[in-house]
Symmetry: C2
Subunit: 388 residues, 2 copies
Amino acid sequence: MDVRLAKRAQEISPFYVMELLRRAKQLEAQGKDIIHMEIGEPDFTTPPAIMEAGIRQLKTGEVKYTPAAGLPELREKIAEFYRQRYAVTVDKKRIFVTPGASGAFLLALGVTLNPEEELLMADPCYPCNSNFIRLFDGKARTLPVDAASRYQLTAAQIKQHWTKNTKGVLIASPSNPTGTLIGAEQLKQAVHTVNALGGCFYSDEIYHGLVYDDKATTALEFSDNVFVINSFSKYFGMTGWRVGWLIVPEAFIDATEKLAQNIFIATATHSQYAALAAFDPHTLAELEHRRAEFERRRDFLYDALLNLGFEIPIKPDGAFYIYANCSKFTDDSFQFALDLLEAEGVAVTPGKDFGINEANHYLRFAYTTSIDRMIVAMQRLDRFINKG
Amino acid sequence: MDVRLAKRAQEISPFYVMELLRRAKQLEAQGKDIIHMEIGEPDFTTPPAIMEAGIRQLKTGEVKYTPAAGLPELREKIAEFYRQRYAVTVDKKRIFVTPGASGAFLLALGVTLNPEEELLMADPCYPCNSNFIRLFDGKARTLPVDAASRYQLTAAQIKQHWTKNTKGVLIASPSNPTGTLIGAEQLKQAVHTVNALGGCFYSDEIYHGLVYDDKATTALEFSDNVFVINSFSKYFGMTGWRVGWLIVPEAFIDATEKLAQNIFIATATHSQYAALAAFDPHTLAELEHRRAEFERRRDFLYDALLNLGFEIPIKPDGAFYIYANCSKFTDDSFQFALDLLEAEGVAVTPGKDFGINEANHYLRFAYTTSIDRMIVAMQRLDRFINKG
Ligand SMILES: Cc1ncc(COP(=O)(O)O)c(C=O)c1O
Ligand SMILES: Cc1ncc(COP(=O)(O)O)c(C=O)c1O
């Protein structure tokens, strides 16, 4: 290791699933059939109208930098989306188009987090969170959560763990890996608590479109004093386009704009033009079909995993993940995942990619593959478990 | 200002040119003809073969995340480009595809720079540099340069200003705003000096394709122990596509890959596929025509500005900028730029966007517009100067 490596870079942990992916690739190269249930992106293609809008823009040849905050008409459409979907009014000046939710995290934490300041977040959670915090030399303070709070932080937890070094709270609903929504009342309490404590509230709403029973609630319903992170990646089927958005409190507009100008210049132009078509009624209708398909898959997988003896304390509400307790079969879910891949060619993500809270007893199954493939995966899983 | 704003965000200075741009927009809305000589991107469209490669990819609909380090075939092509253009061998594992040179800066500084560490760089230089450094809570230590060293740092300066807090040195050649190249010998000495001091050497080579007399030298010719930042934005005419690259020393490969996975996930997929066509012989031939046109423009503008009484101590070698001394006309180049815009509708960038070294005596003229338009601009500039 080079002594010139920044301290933060030394502390970034690898994704364990990468080790599985490497092995999966080798096995595939040997001709083995691998069922991928570790993948965090929709298997659907980008909806045609979005794709065509992107192509139309490219054909002009005028693929120049856009304003740093994004195309004005896209910011307007996003504001309109909040009016229609959530009956919430957001000044479009507060909306920044970013290179994915990833870019939104960079901006939101870049304008707020000082070195040594702490953010509170749930364990388990999206593994990049702590590394975004580390990027700015802050500290991720993860708090264990369980089914009792739908794997989401509560206001009581926030109050209890708040210290003078705490900068704020980051939640994601539906959560990756658990797929659980935070209840509207729980979210409201959390937002109000953080506001009262004078902290920053960051709400990752990237899986909002993908909920199956209840309705997802945006943090903006309870306060304008929140950072909302969202993206065209998941619900809109645009992962590879790298386009998302960030909504900031009024007082942060100028700083966010300056930071965006400096570190991104702008988000990819054709991706922004393509995203303009994401809110067309036609496209939204198609996305609703896909959502229904994801719901069928969730129901299938939920039942199948329970039947095999996995424990799933609450049925996930959204995203495309089931976080299943496998303690009936193993005390080392990473080894279990490696063995399952080796023996049966089924790839899943080990709990330890999402934290340390009971991580060795959990596996994340992504239903980003068809029910037909999942039927085969479940047969293989059954054989794997019952042969042991 | 919100007390929750991070310290770094409070310190990021705005681009002064933004004020000019806002005013230019207002004037344009009033029907006034504005000649834009402040714009840092080519006026040419993206070459057709690149555009078509992007469209082909989009049409598949499979716009999924790529590996974090980029498409393997693009990394291979970039390695091949180094073999052909510079006769330098670069292991493709050291090459990371990024969202523009901007993304390359994020990665390079993210994996190396600790809070409070200093980087040495020239004043004047690209304004985002200090803000990238600030993002990681490091310190930009700018050293005044002048025509004697072609506006580039020398080994002697580096040695003189090196302290125990110095992490490394950042150079850009050709420079933005001066357009001057660092000589091969000067670059070699600088690289060897930084290596001997145990620091990091960052070489921004984004304007390499756009040089008109001499040949540009990559820092990789003198050491593998350097960070090279480059992009498809300028020479390849792909600003809005947001695709560039970073080359890291061997020892930084793992850390860079982990950081890229976490903060970007990946660079836009279709932009990467499009960039695959950037090295086609056809495309390169077309880009050479454009380079010749930029050369004609440089020659025209250089002569015209000298004729008007601006001082340009050395003829710029590349990029599409001329950094002209206007002390014959004003001691406040920013006010001069504002007045010129107001009176004559010519937009240029004030020196103070690039540093503090004699900044009030300089203006940056970008020749990203046609000679026909520049002829009109020079007539207006003449009238502006001689009416006063
Ligand atoms: C919870 C969560 N937030 C943010 C992201 C970042 O996605 P993107 O940058 O593609 O918008 C992901 C991607 O997997 C995620 O799962
Ligand atoms: C010197 C220099 N470096 C880097 C960049 C960043 O360009 P991009 O992110 O589009 O590759 C620019 C853009 O103007 C520049 O002038």
